[in-house]
Subunit: 339 residues, 2 copies
């Protein structure tokens, strides 16, 4: 699938915004001062430079800020007033990635060493904290209402991250899983649309529609991600088949079989996830169990349901005809992508 146009519109302006937000601070008296080792690390993490500070182009897809900027412009806001919120949102997302990588012991992100691998866990905690602090300061520039929406979304995202971690110690059903991803993933996606509506000073009914669109898209996006985490084509995703099983994730497919399998299936799951390291054979066994319950097909049906819902909300939004086409291209991509 081709990269949707919306994800290619704002690369330069977002790169410039990130560079500005993450540059070493200047003292009040104009002199540069020792702000410590964290700022270069933040620039490395978002992909503005390599480990030694040399400029590279390794930025992520910047989904959330692109959604925000595009929606805000479509609703009549100018770029300048929407940019601080977009940058804030991308920084919130990246702060969560830095801390996630510590929590999950992930050593690579998009093919590069994670922050904690580079500078140690203790300093990586500070790096994430700093990224979030810069994000909230940037959010303030978007006005109090937009800042409130962004910080509320970040709070919800952190609650979701807390739930996700808590799930490591218990088996969950589909409803608990959905509640968790609505917070962990949905909140920020939703926030991109809501903040856009607020910055464009659109009416409440539109903001409600934007919220519903964001929630539906967040679910489609995350469940699609979960399906790719098990059945994704390794050549495209860069991950092994069943990689989320290997990492003992309680993702959508696992929640579904937990809820629906018989005693035998439960015993299999529990014995596999109880192991320190999961063998290829055990991964295959869990995937076979999922196959017997049509988990992949049912997951795809759930994604399609949320996609349909998102498209219905989109149809009702006061966007231009071209705007709706481009947004439709993006949400279909997010729900059906192969990587």
């Amino acid at each position: 699938m081709r990269i949707p146009q919306i994800l290619m519109l704002y690369g330069d302006i977002l790169e410039k915004g990130l560079q500005e937000a993450l540059s070493d601070p200047i003292s009040a008296d104009g002199s540069s001062h020792d702000a410590g080792p964290l700022y270069p690390t933040l620039r490395y993490h978002v992909g503005l430079c390599d480990e030694r500070g040399r400029p590279v182009k390794a930025l992520g897809k910047m989904l959330r800020p692109s959604l925000l900027l595009f929606t805000a412009q479509e609703l009549g806001a100018d770029m300048e007033s929407a940019l601080p919120a977009a940058i804030a949102l991308e920084l919130v997302h990246n702060f969560s990635l830095i801390h996630d990588d510590i929590q999950d012991h992930d050593e690579l992100r998009r093919g590069r060493p994670t922050v904690w691998k580079l500078i140690g866990v203790a300093q990586a905690i500070n790096a994430g904290d700093l990224m979030y602090s810069i994000a909230t300061r940037k959010a303030l520039l978007a006005g109090a209402d937009a800042a409130g929406v962004i910080i509320d979304a970040a709070t919800t995202m952190i609650e979701g991250q807390g739930l996700d971690l808590a799930f490591e110690d218990r088996w969950i059903n589909v409803q608990s899983y959905i509640d968790m991803i609505d917070k962990k993933t949905g909140a920020l996606v939703c926030c991109a649309f809501r903040a856009a509506g607020i910055i464009a000073r659109t009416e409440q009914a539109t903001i409600d529609l934007l919220t519903s669109l964001g929630m539906a898209l967040g679910r489609a996006f995350q469940i699609r991600d979960d399906l790719l985490g098990i059945w994704g084509d390794g050549d495209l995703t860069g991950k092994l088949q069943g990689s989320d099983i290997r990492r003992k994730k309680k993702s959508f497919p696992v929640a579904l079989i937990t809820q629906e399998t018989n005693e035998e299936g439960k015993a299999l799951l529990e014995s596999v996830y109880a192991q320190e390291r999961i063998s290829d054979d055990d991964v295959a066994r869990v995937i076979a169990l999922m196959g017997s319950l049509d988990v992949k097909e049912r997951g795809e049906a759930v994604v399609e349901g949320h996609l349909k819902e998102a498209r219905e909300h989109l149809e009702r939004l006061p966007l231009s005809k071209k705007g709706k086409e481009l947004m439709d291209e993006l949400i279909v991509y997010l729900a059906r992508r192969e990587k």
Copy 2:
């Protein structure tokens, strides 16, 4: 020394404010929802309840919010408008403690298990993140200007924490040390005064004075803390003599001898700090080296210098006579306390 009156004025109102800020969130539809395991942990951390959620009175001294509330009231603000900033500031401070304890591997804080000891490092990272996110949301209620000052101070504090950690790998002189504590400790103390001035809509000259008072007091407070970390009376501080040496802290006394000792002294310091665990004998050797350079007395003189400076700024502030007396009692206490 008696606890200063300012630290006893706001206990009830701050406790209520913390309880409200850290209560489990309510859904938009009014139902309670699963916000995960983090909120009870935050209430535990600030001392509102014990590990099992049972109410206790174990709050800290709440220096920063007390400074803010007292100063704001003295400058003519009402309590209601100053309270959100005070709570935000206390939450920022507590977020930093949760993450500090992870970074320092500290197992106890004020005699109670630290958050990471209770819920593990991964979830403790989330707990700190959530505390900070709630803090910034609360700061917004104080108005955009006060929120900006609070978030800027938090950013600076995190930079300082980054420097402090970086100092673990190198020897520092007194100037580097001062730059670090101005950020790590000074920024929040300063912010208490500055935010008070902003909330009270006082003139810029007064805010500048408040800033200078805060910086001087921050230094006096932190260097006094460092002296207690080595020569403090264990019966009062709950710590062993030389405990900061045992923890290999690069505190003021260490920065001073690093800067001034001869080759022999340097070799001693380096060999002691290179050890995995530092013996009582080695602690005594470092303290003797400090003794030979009059580090304790010189540290006390530096504290007294900053105290004098703080008192001069205080004298020029437009506070009531009684207000100045009470503030003077507090700053003298912070500079000369024995625990």
